[in-house]
């Protein structure tokens, strides 16, 4: 092909050999990831494209052809947020006659300052939409057939109602999305509630659920504590299981600034020498799945040398002595035995972290996706607590989330274990939300099969296929799952695809609601009762989304939905009408035609999300922030002058009280250096006031300006009364509190008072509504109260299983969950290589959207596996050769071998964005015509295996076993 050919020429006369060499690399002269993938890929991709795809065609379904976008028509500049990772980059779109004709940098955004990664710089292609799912389709005898929206809603609706009638509401699984806006996410959870099930979940389960649960159980909230911008103030940067350079590229703008400006050492701990590691001062290669051992190994040196922050620990940390006892076991020799990292290196790291404070700690899925993921996340927190790095600017656990609104979708409860706002599923939670919805509690209860099932945690998305395949009597609900609704979810992001395929085939009904067909459309061999409904992207609607740093940003609609796509909230309305729940669902939400009014939905959640502080972010305030982005400081995120003066950008939660209260939002969580009214806070008093006679409340630490110079529990009416602050409540507020509390008015708290009065009065008087507690090093409600190491279910180190065994088999989340019986089976001889997975910068998630974008697809054309030259040579595998990677449960994928030292000996890596191939077979012909992504490839998760976190059911993708052989 062309590039190949010119490459031959590239060896000629050159002024700078080094540069020509690098250019030559593109041709395969030296190996890099992209170079190696070109060649044949270009030919295939190019040919396929030429046949199907007019380049540069800005096309809309019906309206304006190019000719109507005549020169001279006014060009509007519209602002929204990139739909890929969680950094929250502003996208500025130029739109003429409804056609998205150009993209300019969003310079005013304090988050991205105009910067984008490959994905963000290519989002305009979405408006071309050549590979989109264009209209509703159903499979008829194995053939995709077009149908109208009306038909689709009727047919799918009838079938769902029939299943509900026959098998109960819990037989349907509503699988929502991190791609919903906050409004859509909230509506989706409410929709599932009124359908009558807790079998509703989304991607957070399989990306950061162990973070959310782990971190929340240490200090109150499961989210990034500081912000991307705040990293600029860090004096040390510790990354573990995070490849920010590929997964969150624009975050590197802030990270590299800290590195350059503060001379902050960048330490990257990862089994793989990532592109983030390439920028590091210190790279720690360790064995996948040994994070706890590694962290305790660092802490061992800190404690050994007395480098911990003793004053901070005394005032703000509970249970640290239990940590000391566990850490004492992790001597340098033991750490090296388990993790493979020499003690001398960890001593250096410990000293670096201790002498450069405050430092930030960043983790991603490398830490979370393990069957002990919750142990990992809590261990990271404990390390930061020991260093006194939490609740201070420049410190924090900066957990980078994956999708543009995965934080929001989690906060709004698109999860099987909670209603919006982490209220849980108990009686009180339902009553709170019934009050917000202004529905009688009994009418909501009546939608469920029973009160017990209403309050019982549902099946998590990570296990939905077990909910289909498992024998009915083993499942804690009346029937197994009969219908799946994939509403913005890629199946190839989940482990054990062969099992999922079986489950898809067993279902009575399979529905996909998505802008793209996704791999769901082709994975199974279903012949009927299979529907694809085209959904709009966030560029085709408007509303708010929450970035990883908790800033809530309002995006404008750029273009009308393409082809016949509809917005998620409109589709929910159509189904609600079909089910007869529309009156209840939209009681206080105006519906224009078929489209519920977004602002009304925002205002409804403003009235209910007290527990998180999602109450002050009115549509008006959010719009004002987007309009005046330029007035916000690019380090502190605080507006200097202008209409938002003193507020933090995007009103990062908690933003206490009503919008009228004008709380500025909280840039850094638990920051005692600021008054609560100005964004300060303290650890949440979530776990009581004492345990076994030891206080759980802070001692001598409190937010600036606090009337109580010590810890205190969460704020209730009784507490305000005791302090005499209840006099500050207005008559209206008091009336609401009385109505909610009835006899027990003292029990009404900051989370249940719908007037916002308790929060207003608390904040006015310098109190932190969630209280002022210590952070917990011991989560006594978890299987491992103190985080401990347990060997992965599929471990190559059988010698360590006896010392570090997994859990006993158990039943959780309505399903049997295996641990010991999996680990006991020794397959390390047949499957000697550790398999791990991760992201590529060009693609996101299951990749259907990004692999359909030619500007991105061209850059990564082949699925591959990285393997160390040592393993490759032993197996006789050459670089670029096709190989079979077979997982320990026999799922196998046919991919290209990339021989590289990026991975260590005995470790293989595959990116998880590919799909459309299954065990060597190209499924392109199974997509609806014209809706096949440009690039297809094997899904890494065909080869991944069983293993779920003991608390959250997170899947264990980051460490399993495989074998690799030449094809």
């Amino acid at each position: 092909m062309l590039i190949k050919k010119s490459a031959v020429a590239a060896g000629g006369r050159h002024l700078s050999r080094s540069l020509s060499q690098t250019v030559g690399a593109v041709t395969g002269a030296t190996v890099d990831r992209r170079a190696f993938l070109r060649g044949s890929g270009l030919a295939a991709g190019g040919a396929a494209l030429a046949a199907t795809m007019p380049f540069g065609m800005v096309k809309k379904a019906d309206a304006a052809g190019p000719a109507t976008a005549a020169a001279g028509a006014p060009i509007k500049q519209l602002k929204t947020i990139c739909t890929h990772c969680s950094v929250g980059c502003t996208v500025v779109a130029e739109v003429q006659n409804g056609v998205w004709i150009g993209q300019e940098p969003g310079f005013d955004s304090p988050i991205n300052l105009g910067a984008h990664c490959a994905k963000g710089a290519a989002v305009r292609e979405h408006a071309h939409g050549e590979r989109r799912l264009r209209y509703p389709m159903k499979m008829v005898n194995g053939v995709w057939t077009r149908l109208s929206w009306d038909q689709a809603i009727q047919e799918v609706g009838d079938k769902l109602l029939e299943i509900r009638q026959k098998s109960g509401p819990d037989a349907v699984f509503w699988l929502g999305s991190a791609k919903h806006s906050n409004e859509q996410a909230y509506l989706f959870r409410k929709f599932a509630a009124l359908w009558g099930t807790n079998n509703v979940d989304h991607q957070a389960r399989i990306c950061h659920s162990t973070t959310v649960a782990g971190v929340a159980n240490v200090w109150g909230y499961g989210a990034m504590t500081n912000s991307y911008n705040d990293i600029q103030k860090s004096k040390a940067l510790f990354f573990i299981g995070s490849n920010a350079a590929e997964a969150h590229p624009v975050s590197m703008l802030h990270i590299l600034k800290a590195k350059e400006q503060n001379n902050a050492p960048l330490i990257v701990a990862d089994p793989r020498f990532t592109r983030t590691a390439a920028k590091a001062d210190e790279y720690i290669r360790f064995r996948p799945g040994t994070d706890v051992g590694l962290i305790w190994g660092i802490l061992w040196h800190i404690l050994e040398n007395g480098w911990e922050d003793k004053d901070y620990i005394a005032k703000r940390v509970y249970g640290f002595d239990d940590i000391r006892a566990e850490v004492a076991k992790w001597t340098p020799a033991e750490v090296e035995r388990v993790t493979g990292v020499p003690g001398s290196q960890l001593k250096r790291v410990a000293r670096t972290l201790a002498s450069n404070r405050p430092g930030t700690l960043v983790w991603c899925m490398g830490g979370t996706q393990h069957h002990i993921g919750n142990n990992n996340t809590r261990a990271y927190c404990v390390l930061q607590l020991a260093l006194g790095n939490i609740g201070v600017s420049g410190g924090g656990t900066n957990i980078f989330r994956g999708h543009d609104n995965v934080q929001g979708a989690t906060d709004f409860g698109v999860t099987s274990d909670s209603l919006p706002g982490y209220y849980g599923l108990a009686d009180g939670a339902w009553k709170h939300w019934a009050r917000v919805w202004e529905l009688p509690y009994e009418s909501v209860l009546a939608r469920f099969a029973s009160k017990e099932l209403m309050e019982k945690t549902g099946i998590p998305v990570s296990r939905w296929y077990d909910g289909v395949l498992e024998a009915k009597e083993n499942i804690d609900q009346p029937e197994s799952l009969k219908a799946m609704v994939f509403w913005g979810h890629a199946p190839n992001s989940q482990v054990r695809l062969p099992e999922m395929k079986k489950a898809m085939e067993k279902l009575e009904l399979l529905v996909v609601v998505d802008p793209y067909p996704t791999m769901t459309a082709v994975l199974s061999d279903r012949k009927d009762n299979f529907y694809l409904l085209p959904a709009a992207t966030q560029f085709e609607t408007y509303g708010s989304r929450t970035a990883s740093n908790r800033s809530v940003q309002w995006g404008e609609k750029i273009i009308e939905p393409l082809f016949e796509a509809k917005t998620d909230h409109e589709i929910m309305y159509l189904f609600a009408k079909k089910f007869g729940i529309d009156k209840d669902l939209f009681k206080n939400i105006k519906v224009n035609g078929n489209e519920p009014l977004i602002e009304d939905i925002t205002r409804e959640w403003n009235r209910g999300m007290w527990s998180v502080g999602y109450t002050g972010q009115s549509p008006e305030r959010m719009k004002l922030h987007m309009q005046h982005q330029a007035t916000f400081d690019k380090t502190t995120l605080r507006a200097v002058g202008g209409p938002c003066d003193g507020e933090f950008f995007g009103l990062p939660w908690p933003c206490w009280g009503t919008p009228e209260m004008k709380h500025p939002g909280s840039a850094n969580l638990y920051d005692t250096s600021l008054p609560v009214a100005e964004g300060g806070g303290a650890f949440r008093a979530r776990f009581g006031v004492e345990r076994n006679g030891v206080t759980l409340l802070a001692e001598g630490s409190y937010p600036e300006g606090s009337p109580i110079k010590d810890g205190y529990p969460e704020v209730t009416m009784a507490m305000l009364q005791k302090l005499g602050f209840d006099k500050d409540l207005t008559a209206e507020e008091l009336a609401v509190i009385q109505k909610i509390g009835g006899e027990k008015i003292g029990a009404v708290s900051w989370t249940t008072d719908l007037s916002g009065g308790i929060q207003r009065v608390a904040v006015k008087n310098g109190l932190n509504p969630p209280g002022n507690a210590k952070a917990r090093c011991v989560a006594w409600n978890f299987p491992d109260p103190v985080p401990i190491h347990r060997e992965p279910l599929y471990t190559p180190r059988r010698d360590l299983v006896a010392s570090y065994p997994t859990y006993k088999d158990t039943k959780s989340w309505r399903l049997p969950t295996l641990y010991k019986s999996i680990q006991d089976r020794d397959v390390s001889k047949e499957y000697p290589i550790i398999l791990t997975s991760g992201r590529l910068v060009e693609y996101e998630g299951g990749g259907d959207e990004t692999r359909s974008n030619p500007w991105l697809a061209e850059l990564q054309q082949d699925m591959f596996v990285e393997m160390n030259p040592f393993d490759a040579n032993n197996a006789g595998i050459k670089d670029g050769q096709m190989v079979w990677v077979e997982g320990a449960e026999k799922g196998r994928v046919k991919v290209k071998a990339m021989v590289t030292e990026r991975v260590g000996r005995g470790v293989a890596f595959m990116p998880f964005h590919f799909g459309g191939w299954y065990q060597g077979q190209d499924l392109r012909s199974k997509y609806p015509k014209g809706a096949d992504p440009i690039v297809l490839g094997e899904a890494a998760n065909t080869a991944t295996t069983y293993g779920y976190d003991s608390v959250t059911q997170m899947q264990e993708t980051k460490t399993t076993l495989c074998r690799i052989a030449a094809v």
Binding site: F55, A69, I75, K634
Partner: protein
């Protein structure tokens, strides 16, 4: 391009060459035709309305902003 009077501009196109032009960018060129109205006077300050007076690069507010943010 920039001020044409000051550059060593090559000869104007020969008719014979036009033959190649169609083949030129291939699909890309054809696709681009469809875009139509992309000749846009952007929002940058001081972008001249009359293109014949364009002098190419100049330090507009937009450009100053880029420099300022690059210093970030």
């Amino acid at each position: 391009m920039t001020d044409r009077t000051k550059t060593d501009k090559p000869n104007s196109a020969l008719a014979r060459r036009d033959l190649f032009r169609v083949a030129g960018l291939g699909v890309g060129a054809l696709g681009a035709v469809a875009v139509g109205a992309v000749a846009v006077t952007g929002p940058a300050e001081a972008a001249p309305a009359d293109s014949t007076t364009t002098t190419g690069y100049r330090e507009t507010d937009h450009v100053r902003k880029v420099y300022e943010l690059s210093r970030f």
